[in-house]
């Protein structure tokens, strides 16, 4: 067994050493009940990652803010008559790792296991039960609800969390993205088991799911795994389309007092969606402006030139609908205004002038030459598959990515930034220090 695997690795190693063959080959199909599957055969390590992604994030919460998160957290607290300890023990005694989570667009459950059938098969069976037969035991519900409330308390002692919550609220107002996935004390305390079960039945269905498999399992086995997991779910309906995000009309500023040494500043607006015609010019442009660590303009101006902050950044989060474009930093309270005007000035200049030819060249070199790093492990490949599957991106998304980055021109960036990024109507959230006499503009 060891010998065979070792030979297998050598063969793959030779394939990988060819420059063009570095990309994982993605296979995709749809199960009988309508779940989309994305699979990559990675045979080098005797392990497998299986992930189910549902359109069941907090964008589906409505008035029950936090329900998506709590529903997801409850799935492994009891299933098919097994209690939380039996589920956890069943996984861990085989070295398997069960995890889950939820953000605004998605909720997911993931299993990482060795491929030894004695370990993997029972872990997979248990994984299937957690996904398709959760029991929502009342006692466990009460405890998880209390833990979630404690988590909300914890957020209140972290200026960064306070800022993020206020930022999304200001950016999205009435849109489902406005609320925090962790809910509020009021809404979480009001949730009931019945409501969670209803949420589960509506959204944890095959036609609302994407299955991702990466690892040392041949295709025939991957097909069995996907069918076994997805087809134990109800077929159901895909989640309804989310509403479009409104454009901000006027500048807003929110200053929340906090007894912290620093002010946390977040500035921004709704940015791009996953399938956005301006995605590549904006992505490459932001790489230059604030997305490439210490060598980006924002970091250069705020940190390198002036020593005002440890972290100064900007980034787009492409989502189903326009995700946030966030620019920010944290600095000593008495330097906040100085740093904020440097940030504004940097953004305004960038929009007016665009990047230099040299900057664009450097950014493209960085992204293109660094591309192999992005897909260099099973974990990273699984993450990309989840994105490609969930957002329905073309299967050659990874393959074409470097070329599309390389094709971006200076004028495209300038044009996209002028049309899409508007500092004069951005939201600014400050947490820390004392609020000014007139906090809102």
């Amino acid at each position: 067994m060891k010998q065979m695997l070792r030979v297998g690795t050598i063969v793959v190693g030779l394939v990988f050493s060819g420059v063009a063959a570095a990309l994982p080959e993605i296979q995709s199909w749809t199960t009988g009940k309508g779940a989309r599957v994305l699979y990559v055969h990675a045979s080098e390590l005797p392990m497998v990652d299986v992930r189910l992604v549902f359109d069941a994030g907090s964008a589906r919460d409505r008035e029950q803010s936090g329900i998506a998160r709590l529903t997801n957290a409850m799935l492994d607290q009891g299933a098919a008559g097994l209690d939380a300890g039996e589920i956890a023990g069943g996984m861990e005694q085989r070295g398997a790792v069960l995890s889950g989570g939820s953000e605004r667009d998605t909720a997911w459950l993931a299993l990482r296991s060795l491929t030894d059938p004695e370990l993997f098969e029972p872990a997979l069976e248990l994984f299937g039960k957690v996904i398709s037969q959760p029991d929502f035991p009342p006692e466990d519900f009460a405890r998880e609800q209390r833990r979630m409330l404690a988590g909300l308390q914890y957020q209140k002692q972290q200026p960064r969390s306070i800022a993020s919550r206020a930022f999304f609220q200001q950016l999205y107002d009435q849109h489902p993205y406005a609320s925090d996935p962790t809910g509020t004390e009021e809404t979480v305390a009001a949730l009931t088991v019945d409501e969670l079960e209803a949420f589960y039945r509506r959204y944890y269905v095959a036609s609302n799911a994407v299955v991702v498999i990466v690892g040392d399992v041949p295709e025939a086995q991957a097909r069995q795994i996907a069918t076994g997991l997805a087809d134990n779910l109800e077929t159901g309906e895909p989640a309804a389309a989310l509403p479009a995000v409104d454009t901000l009309e006027a500048q807003q500023k929110v200053h929340l007092e906090h007894p912290s040494a620093q002010s946390h500043v977040m500035m921004g607006q709704p940015g791009v969606q996953r399938k956005d015609p301006d995605y590549f010019p904006l992505y490459v442009g932001n790489h230059i402006l604030g997305g490439s660590g210490l060598v980006s303009r924002i970091s250069e101006e705020i940190r390198e030139e002036r020593g005002l902050a440890y972290s100064a950044y900007s980034y787009f989060v492409p989502m189903e609908r326009k995700g946030p474009y966030t620019l920010g930093f944290q600095t000593r309270n008495d330097q906040r205004d100085e740093a904020l005007s440097v940030l504004r000035e940097t953004v305004t200049t960038f929009i007016a002038e665009g990047p230099t030819a040299q900057e664009l060249d450097a950014a493209q070199k960085n992204i293109v030459a660094g591309f192999p790093i992005r897909v260099a492990s099973n974990s990273k490949i699984a993450e990309y598959l989840a994105v490609i599957g969930f957002y329905d991106l073309p299967l050659d998304y990874l393959e074409t990515f470097p070329d599309r980055v390389q094709a971006v021109t200076n004028n495209q960036i300038k044009d996209a930034y002028r049309r899409r990024v508007h500092p004069q109507t951005m939201v600014t959230v400050i947490v820390g220090g004392e609020a000014e006499a007139q906090p809102a503009l």
Partner: protein
């Protein structure tokens, strides 16, 4: 012995199917090079590890290793400030650095053919840093902002910092890696020049490369770039053993917060400090940590969080690979209807059970199954593999210890777990700290403040 010592060790790792080889070399100037092949993807990570960190620092200059790490990006004669990261970026690289208690390390992750770029830059800044004063004056401000962000405005981190300073008297682990604010405020460029001269030399460093590389080629490149560097006389850091603790220590940390937080730490040995006849003890402590906190079926989650529901979060932690004597930690946040005192009682109940009862076979089997699996999962990350090699070498153990570690854990018996619990979990070596929440908004104090505050 001119030139290189050459290939001194080649070994197939024990991982089934991985088919990787690790190679160890030493250059004439004392630089150690470890290369681990991983041909899964056309990438590599290159890391330079220096044997210096906060535990090498003395009072008055705490945080200097970390500030120097920042200054390593501020230029040499050949590559002035700002050029290092730009060159790495243009080559598609990700680069950064990290400072710990026992090490300072620098890395570049890149497409595999770019390795010479990494070596050229790292070799240059190993000996030729210019440390411009004006850059230092800005950068030390950046570090102070980092400290405010990580520690001053984070009540649990603040409490942990005070906890460590109380737990240790003479052991330098009492100082925070980022340094005390007053030391940062007084730091001078001359201090950094001395620190750089004292520790940055090929014979105080380990170069680790993991990825899609040919070891002989890496060796040739290392010889070309690092070979010409002159070694220094490295004076070993003074031995500063911790005084024997003579009884329980308790402290409160009052800070604006919403949730109380409990930390308990017991003085325990690590692999490097364990006596030869009890060298299994650190491995037994690792297994014991797994019994308590190795997953959601482990005792803290299943009994303290779920069963008795005394805590909303609870954890246990121990690192067998610190350089100096260390702590076995328990920490957690009590559930809403419980106090920090209740949680301490609950933790003590758990430790008493470990002292009184042998861990059942099924629990031990679970911990070992997790260890076996984790060993494979770790192979999915070249960065993590390099981290393991670099950290082992830097505390003075061989990278081979990463293999031995798993073998030693496998061999631990229930009797040995019980034995370390009996030996080390006594009040004599215990430090207990409690974060006592103070109102965040003075006009609207949280209900938990005051009522839960326990005076000890």
């Amino acid at each position: 012995m001119r030139g290189l010592l050459g290939l001194v060790f080649v070994m197939f790792t024990a991982v089934a199917g991985a088919g990787q080889t690790t190679h160890e070399y030493k250059l004439d100037n004392g630089l150690k090079l470890i290369v681990k092949e991983d041909h899964r993807a056309p990438v590599m990570v290159s890391q330079v590890w220096y044997k210096v960190g906060s535990s090498y620092e003395h009072n008055g200059i705490t945080g200097i290793s970390h500030v120097l790490e920042h200054m390593m990006f501020k230029g040499t004669g050949k590559y002035p400030a700002g050029t290092f990261s730009r060159i790495v970026a243009e080559n598609g690289g990700e680069d950064n650095a990290f400072t710990g208690q026992d090490y300072t390390a620098y890395f570049q992750t890149m497409e595999a053919s770019r390795l010479p770029v990494s070596f050229e830059l790292e070799a240059d800044r190993m000996r030729n840093l210019t440390l411009p004063r004006e850059e230092f004056l800005k950068e030390v401000q950046v570090v102070m902002e980092e400290r405010r962000m990580r520690t001053e405005d984070n009540p649990q981190a603040l409490a942990y910092e005070r906890f460590k300073a109380a737990a240790y008297i003479t052991n330098p682990y009492r100082n925070p890696i980022i340094g005390w604010m007053s030391d940062l405020e007084q730091l001078k460029i001359d201090d950094l020049e001395r620190w750089y001269a004292q520790w940055y030399a090929p014979n105080n460093a380990t170069l680790v490369v993991v990825g899609d590389v040919d070891p002989e080629h890496v060796l040739a490149l290392a010889k070309k770039h690092f070979g010409p560097l002159k070694p220094s006389t490295i004076e070993a850091a003074k031995d500063r053993p911790e005084l024997e603790q003579r009884g329980i220590k308790r402290l409160e940390v009052r800070a604006p917060a919403e949730l109380p937080y409990l930390m308990m730490g017991y003085k325990v040995p690590v692999v490097l400090t364990a006596d030869s006849d009890t060298d299994w003890e650190p491995y037994a402590l690792e297994v014991l940590a797994g019994v308590l906190d190795g997953g959601t079926s482990a005792r803290l989650e299943s009994e303290v969080v779920r069963g008795d529901a005394v805590a909303t979060s609870a954890g246990a932690g121990y690192d067998a690979y610190d350089r100096l004597q260390s702590l076995f930690m328990l920490s957690g946040t009590p559930a809403k209807d419980h106090t920090v005192k209740d949680l301490e009682t609950e933790f003590r109940k758990q430790l008493r059970r470990l002292r009184e009862e042998r861990v059942p076979n099924d629990e031990l089997a679970r911990v070992k199954a997790q260890i076996r699996a984790a060993k494979i999962y770790e192979e999915d990350s070249i960065f993590y593999q390099a981290m393991q090699i670099g950290s082992m070498e830097t505390i003075g153990l061989s990278w081979k210890e990463t293999e031995r570690f798993y073998e030693r854990l496998e061999a631990i018996t229930p009797e040995q777990v019980q034995a370390v619990a009996r030996k080390y979990f006594s009040d004599t070596g215990l430090t207990v700290a409690e974060l006592v929440p103070q109102p965040i908004d003075p006009a609207n104090p949280p209900a938990s403040a005051g009522a839960d505050a326990q005076l000890h």
